[in-house]
C-alpha cells in the first residue's frame, strides 16, 4: 500500500517537474488545473502524517507538547507560529526540533538526530499545527531580538571561496534575475519562512528550512554550518520574519521545485 502511495507521489513529482519548467512561459488551462490538483495532493502529506503518529505514540502528542511548552492546547497554534523562539527552560532561542529533543530527554527517551528523516517529519507535523497563522516572531522579546540580529548578520556575511553572502543572491535589487535558469527568489515574497518544511521535488523528499539553507550554502561554496547551531536558528528567525513582514500564512508542507 505504502509503496503504491510513494510511487504515485513519484509520478506526480515527475509531472510537476515538467509542468514547472513550462511555468515561466505560459500554462494552458489544463496544466493549471493539474497543478492545482497536485497542490492538494502534496506528496509530503504522508511524512507529515507520519510525524504526527510519532509524536502521538512516542511523546504523548499535542497535549504533552502544550504542557511542555507551558501553554494550553488552544494556544498552541499561535505559540508555534512564534518559532524559533526563546524557551526559558531550554535557555535559548530554539527550533521546534530542539524542543522535541528536550521532550525526549525529559521523558528518558533517546534523542532523535536533528538531521534525520524522522525529525524532519516530526518538525513538519508540529509546525503544521500553526497552519493559517501568520508567523509571529516577537522582536520585543530580548533574546529573540538578539537572534534576529545574529540572523541578519549571518545573512549578510560574505564568506566562502567566492566571498558570497545569502544577501548576494536574495537582496531586493537582484531578485528575479536568473542564475543558471533559476530565477532568484525574494524570500519574503515566496514565503520561505512559512512554507518550509516542504516537499522538494528535485530532491524527492521532505526538507526543513535549515536543510534548505544548507543547500544554498553548499551550492554557493559557503562552508555548510550545522542544523541547530545558534547561527542556523538565527537565520531561520530572520527568514521567518521576512515572510511575517509580507503577512504570509503558514502552510505546511510547502511544495517546492
Amino acid at each position: 500500500m505504502r509503496k503504491t502511495i510513494l510511487s504515485l507521489a513519484f509520478l506526480s513529482t515527475m509531472a510537476m517537474l515538467q509542468l514547472n519548467a513550462g511555468e515561466q512561459f505560459a500554462m494552458s488551462d489544463a496544466d493549471r488545473a493539474m497543478y492545482k490538483e497536485m497542490l492538494e495532493n502534496n506528496p509530503a502529506d504522508i511524512f507529515v502524517e507520519e510525524g504526527g503518529e510519532i509524536l502521538e505514540e512516542a511523546l504523548g502528542g499535542e497535549e504533552a507538547l502544550a504542557k511542555f511548552l507551558g501553554v494550553s492546547e488552544k494556544e498552541l497554534p499561535k505559540y508555534i507560529a512564534g518559532f524559533p523562539r526563546y524557551v526559558k527552560k531550554l535557555g535559548n532561542v530554539v527550533g521546534l526540533d530542539q524542543v522535541m529533543q528536550a521532550m525526549q530527554v525529559e521523558q528518558g527517551k533517546e534523542k532523535t538526530k536533528l538531521k534525520s528523516g524522522k525529525m524532519f517529519s516530526m518538525l513538519a507535523y508540529v509546525k503544521s499545527l500553526a497552519n493559517d497563522e501568520v508567523p509571529n516572531i516577537d522582536l520585543s522579546e530580548s533574546h529573540e531580538k538578539e537572534a534576529y540580529a545574529l540572523g541578519k548578520k549571518t545573512f549578510m556575511t560574505k564568506r566562502g571561496g567566492r566571498g558570497l553572502s545569502c544577501n548576494a543572491c536574495h537582496s531586493a535589487d537582484i531578485v528575479g534575475q536568473v542564475l543558471r535558469t533559476q530565477p532568484l527568489p525574494d524570500l519574503g515574497e515566496v514565503a520561505s519562512g512559512a512554507t518550509w518544511p516542504a516537499y522538494r521535488m528535485t530532491k524527492s523528499s521532505l526538507r526543513t528550512p535549515q536543510r534548505r539553507f544548507q543547500g544554498c550554502m553548499k551550492n554557493a561554496l559557503l562552508k555548510v554550518i550545522p542544523i541547530g547551531s545558534k547561527e542556523m536558528v538565527a537565520l531561520e528567525v530572520y527568514v521567518t520574519k521576512l515572510a511575517q513582514a509580507k503577512n504570509k500564512k503558514i502552510s505546511i508542507p510547502g511544495l517546492k521545485r
Binding site: V105, E106, L114
Partner: protein, 191 residues
C-alpha cells in the same frame, strides 16, 4: 550524632531526587552545535591596501612571460608549451589505481573576463586591456601601482567590483601579482 547524620543524608537524598523530577535541567538536553568558529574561518577577508614591492622588476622579460602565460590560461591540462621559468603549479590527484599523481593546475585565466593583445576566447565582464601601455600608462592615467593594487585586491578601487580578489585570498603570491602587472604594462606587439 549518628541519627542526626542519617537525617541529613536522607534530606539531601530526598532533595536531589525531587529536583530531578520537578525541574530537570534541560538547557543541555538538545543539540546546538557550534558554528561560530566555522563561519569565522570561512570569512571573506576584508579589502586590503598593498604597495607594489621594490622587488617587482617590471622590465624583466621572464616576469612578463610568466604574466602572459598565467593571464592567457595557457597552463594546466591544456598547456602546449613548457611553462616559463619558475612557474608551474601542481595539484595532487588520486588516480583510479589509487596512486597519487601530480597534475598541472589551472590558474590565472584573466582572459575569462578581459581581452588583451592576441587573446583567444576573451570575455568582456572586465574592460579590454588591449593597448594598456599606450592608453593608460603613457598618458599617466594609471600607473603600475594602480594595476598592482587592482589585481591584488580590486575592492580598494571599487568596493562592488565583480573582479576576483587575488592576493588577499592567497590565490596568488606577491611575485605572481608582479608578473601580471609587468605583462599588462609592457609594450606588446599586436599579433
Amino acid at each position: 550524632m549518628h541519627t542526626k547524620f542519617k537525617y541529613l543524608a536522607m534530606t539531601a537524598l530526598f532533595l536531589s531526587a525531587s529536583s530531578a523530577v520537578c525541574a530537570m535541567d534541560l538547557t543541555k538536553a538538545y543539540d546546538m552545535p557550534d558554528a561560530a568558529k566555522m563561519i569565522k574561518k570561512d570569512l571573506f577577508p576584508a579589502a586590503k591596501q598593498y604597495t607594489m614591492p621594490k622587488s617587482c622588476n617590471l622590465n624583466d622579460p621572464k616576469a612578463i612571460a610568466r604574466g602572459k602565460y598565467m593571464f592567457s590560461n595557457l597552463n594546466g591540462k591544456k598547456a602546449k608549451k613548457p611553462a616559463p621559468e619558475g612557474l608551474v603549479k601542481f595539484v595532487k590527484k588520486t588516480g583510479k589505481d589509487g596512486k597519487v599523481k601530480k597534475k598541472a593546475k589551472q590558474f590565472g585565466n584573466c582572459v575569462a573576463c578581459h581581452n588583451i593583445e592576441g587573446a583567444r576566447g576573451a570575455g568582456n565582464i572586465g574592460p579590454s586591456l588591449e593597448g594598456y601601455k599606450a592608453n593608460f600608462i603613457d598618458t599617466k592615467t594609471r600607473d603600475a601601482q594602480f594595476v598592482y593594487q587592482k589585481i591584488a585586491d580590486p575592492r580598494i578601487d571599487n568596493p562592488n567590483t565583480h573582479m576576483t580578489v587575488n592576493l588577499t585570498t592567497g590565490l596568488f603570491t606577491e611575485q605572481e601579482i608582479c608578473d601580471f602587472t609587468a605583462y599588462i604594462v609592457s609594450d606588446k606587439k599586436k599579433k
